[in-house]
Symmetry: C2
Subunit: 277 residues, 2 copies
Amino acid sequence: MRLSLNQATVKRASVPEVVEVCVRNGIPAVGLWRDPVAEYGLERTASLVASAGLEVSSLCRGGFFTGLDQRLDDNRRAIDETAALGAQCLVLVPGGVPDRDLVAARARVASALEVLAPYAASAGVRLALEPMHPMFCADRGVVSTLGQALELASPYPDSVVGVVVDALHVWWDPALAVDVKRAGSRIHSYQVCDWVTPLPADVLLGRGLPGDGHIDLVGLTSLVTDAGYTGYVEVEVFNEEVWARPFDAVAADLVARHATGWEPVVDGGHDRLPVTP
Amino acid sequence: MRLSLNQATVKRASVPEVVEVCVRNGIPAVGLWRDPVAEYGLERTASLVASAGLEVSSLCRGGFFTGLDQRLDDNRRAIDETAALGAQCLVLVPGGVPDRDLVAARARVASALEVLAPYAASAGVRLALEPMHPMFCADRGVVSTLGQALELASPYPDSVVGVVVDALHVWWDPALAVDVKRAGSRIHSYQVCDWVTPLPADVLLGRGLPGDGHIDLVGLTSLVTDAGYTGYVEVEVFNEEVWARPFDAVAADLVARHATGWEPVVDGGHDRLPVTP
């Protein structure tokens, strides 16, 4: 499974910088975010990435369907941008619970897909609904399990609505093995990072480099491969310490870890795993 | 459903203080913790609680089965203490993942129950396995859903091994309604608090008073009642701000909220609910 570098892992890199980092370190694909792409220019980004010989494994992100405004116009623009970049999918972050009605919030995700799936199909874009760790249910993502995401995707063809398997979001799920297998060709994106303890003050930034935490990434990669996924493994890490490192050092570290099945090459990686009290 | 005050909600109260607070505020039951009980004395606590006319809705806690030491001796002592107090159940916190092998950690929970269930049955003690929010899977509780807890309990009689339904841990679960119904007479404890955003730096202390957050506690209480549960609703809140308040103020606030279906009587409770961005 080939490596992709999600731009958020080197958050402070501009589009040209992340493209250069990928090329210099032999990483064949990149995951892009809409804001930096808009800053550099959509068409310019598409040309630059293509001339560098990179694939765009994902564009982050559409979604946030659960407020009073379902953001359908913005999501149509995100679909257009995904098409313009030739990205392999558009990642959809569902949105949280604006009040106390979780059932209604989840229903708004379903109703947004009814509108957006035909639009994406016309544009030749694959939507990748991201089940999110339950700790984000209130403020970010009401789709909490892979099984739930698959149910929401089920009315649509695999090639139009699929899912993201992000290790951080799904690793704890008792139904993981069954649901990854069931996901099959609906897996539009496979993202990795690691669960580190203790969580930092801002849990959004509580992601370690793959190999530094508790997730059995070798096992998860096997599940995803056995399910028929042939795309990239995209590293998406939100972590202040990683952001403070030189971009090339991060990329080289990831290339080395990827080659060893995510064994950390930095001292102390495994040693940092705490023993249960 | 009658109210119980979990001692952790007024963390700095000693056993006699929490008993007095319950009596003064007309709260008929208390949830106790082993450390403060040991400090005051097990027999003394049992006498004090009985002479005050309080029931003990739960004793916290046994568990932490997933390390190399499954702590079976300590759990046997916890069962004895539960019997001595006449507590309605012993809460079991499963323990986390000491390495990367989540499947093995979960299996150690099952094997600990094999040893402890007969011991608890002999002592006339009900064990209440606590499914824990997936954000605690790595360091505290590998049983992540009510469904999974029910599966672990299934080899044993309802009266010996059951579950805790703690709002904070289960509210996000897409299978919640189905699994609470299925739990039926295995519900040995029902605990409430609320999910507040943003989470504080230490997520363990990220619990609001019931009514201050995103959980539909009225809906959850209906589910639990419809499942046949006739025990107490126990308020367990870990929150520095709540701990800083006078014990009686906290108790009075809870009694008032309980009477109104957990509507906050403090200004700004509902207003603090953020709108999804």
